[in-house]
Symmetry: C2
Subunit: 350 residues, 2 copies
């Protein structure tokens, strides 16, 4: 059997109802549910690839827009693709760059042709089309590439919601025609704001186009958590079981979303707060390690964790590193926070 035809194997746990699966792409695999650390510019900030491997990650996410700006996809392609460039032999998903256009650029113009905006680096105009973003992702040679979409702001009018779905689907129709790199998967993006019906129409249209998986965008953008869940539930209703579902940019409440049927997550959140001294505790909230009360605390950062950081260092030492603004502090807290995310998700997939 050609494994490119079976990129996702699903095992539904009939007791818990939890989806456990495995992605098979180009001879590599990753168990789901999975959390992807974010390597914005081809590096998960402050960590070596070895440190990521040691935690257990099988897949990471990298940002097409940032890599397009620096160093540019041509250079990465010339150097053998993103895996070789950043020395990551696991799987890589790249986003479309569309989200950065909406979140980073103050000037942009969206037309049916694509998105025009100003570079955050040099102010030059950049045109991203559905074909162009896939061309870039093909040059990066990521394992999963994402279609260009339009993510409406929240809140927005019903008309905006409708327009953005229409445009997202027009982009998708053009995207699906792009020839992929051998074995590369194409995920479409489900938009539709908070409108259940639009969300379902969008998902069904993507399904009929033959996407390999579903990236669910435009959620957790400021709306109430109950609304997130309702919209998500409606969306997932129409997606067949055998298709992987990726909830974009969501790094909290993962357990809830896994139970609802999500297979893939990513978030900059655990590494970003780590660099500011905030540690996620496996069982009980967060602490900021710079706090004076830790100044002579001999205990590990998190008693419920056995990561490199928690096995080897005290809270007092980690506090000292942050008080002195030592880089090692950022590394050690990033290792811990990612380990917690890994363990939360991994407890569900094995």
């Amino acid at each position: 059997m050609d494994k490119f035809n079976l990129p996702f194997q699903l095992f539904l746990d009939s007791k818990s109802g939890i989806r456990r699966g495995k992605l098979y792409i180009r001879g590599k695999s990753a168990k789901t549910p999975l959390f992807m650390p974010v390597a914005t510019r081809g590096t998960v900030r402050a960590l070596t690839p070895s440190q990521l491997k040691e935690i257990g990650f099988e897949m990471i996410l990298s940002n097409t827009y940032h890599l397009h700006e620096r160093p540019g996809e041509e250079i990465i392609n010339k150097l053998g693709g993103l895996h070789k460039f950043m020395n990551w032999d696991g799987l890589i998903l790249t986003d479309s760059g569309g989200y950065q256009v909406f979140s980073l650029s103050s000037y942009r113009k969206v037309t049916d042709d694509g998105v025009v905006f100003r570079s955050i680096l040099d102010g030059n105009e950049i045109l991203l089309t559905p074909e162009k973003v896939l061309e870039i992702q093909k040059k990066l040679n990521s394992d999963i590439a994402i279609f260009l979409d339009e993510c409406p702001e929240y809140p927005c009018t019903a008309k905006r919601e409708e327009e953005s779905v229409k445009r997202t689907l027009k982009f998708a129709e053009r995207s699906i025609k792009v020839e992929r790199n051998p074995g590369q998967l194409f995920f479409g993006v489900v938009q539709g704001g908070m409108n259940f019906k639009l969300r379902q129409e969008c998902a069904l249209a993507l399904l009929s186009l033959g996407v390999d998986g579903f990236a669910i965008g435009g959620l957790s953008v400021g709306e109430e958590a109950t609304l997130t869940k309702e919209v998500l539930a409606a969306t997932l209703e129409v997606i067949p079981d055998d298709k992987p579902r990726y909830l974009m940019g969501v790094g909290s409440d993962i357990l809830t979303y896994v139970k609802m049927g999500i297979d893939m997550f990513d978030s900059v959140f655990p590494t970003r707060i780590a660099r500011h001294g905030t540690a996620i505790l496996y069982n009980k909230g967060r602490i900021n390690i710079s706090n004076k009360r830790f100044k002579d605390d001999e205990s590990p950062l998190d008693v419920d964790c056995d990561c490199y950081t928690c096995r080897n260092f005290s809270r007092a030492y980690l506090r000292h590193l942050f008080v002195c603004n030592e880089l090692l502090g950022k590394t050690l807290l990033s290792i811990h926070n990612l380990s917690v995310l890994y363990k939360i998700v991994n407890a569900l997939n094995s």
Copy 2:
């Protein structure tokens, strides 16, 4: 035989004349000649202890003054000493803190009692005496502690040179009376400016006090390299073969100094320049990796090196990290530069 009485074993290579030895302290050992990475505040900046071990280091240096300021020796002592605090199971040498007094503080008063100066952190007056700096190092529980000395500025008058030796020896006489932690070694500091005779008198006086080893200070402070060598040669002439000799703060021209009879080195230089993008090449000078000419250079940072960085990453990737100011760049270049220093010195001790 009590190994505390034989802390240093020397093997003179009769062919090359190179001193090869081994330090034995408290059941740990380190081959000499050796280079000590500098863990200023209890961390070799941007590196985990595992990464240091992987390079091969058996001994590091940490700064008494900085640790006294933050987090304070009491906290480190309460947490089980510096080894446990920073999770370093190799050997640790601590300096006396005297050098920082002279290099960092604009206000200071040196008397026969000790050194008074203002904290660089809060401006409070601090008094360091010979007894006090050893008390701190005992609380840190380093393996080798260094006596307080006075390092004269360069150039200085003959009178200044004489006075500072006199004071350094007075300090040493008080230092040797301090009871050491079990197995801890005490090194005296040889001063004397560029005056051969003073240097020799200082070394001989320390020898008669019974120090375990000789730290040679006040060299490579701006004088011509030929003068450094002459002063050093004169100093070493009077130090018996079986005593370890540590050339303080010197990280270049190591081969020359090893051939002259130096066993131990330290320098912040390889890690400091690494954090600014400068890589030391094993065989041919230095490069700054941010340079545009490396933008699509597929070759490793240094073709003559097999460290983690050179085995796994291209110059183009490392340049990208520095251009984007990514922390991983600092880590990877620090690993490389320290690996080069390690290999240069290690080629001589095995």
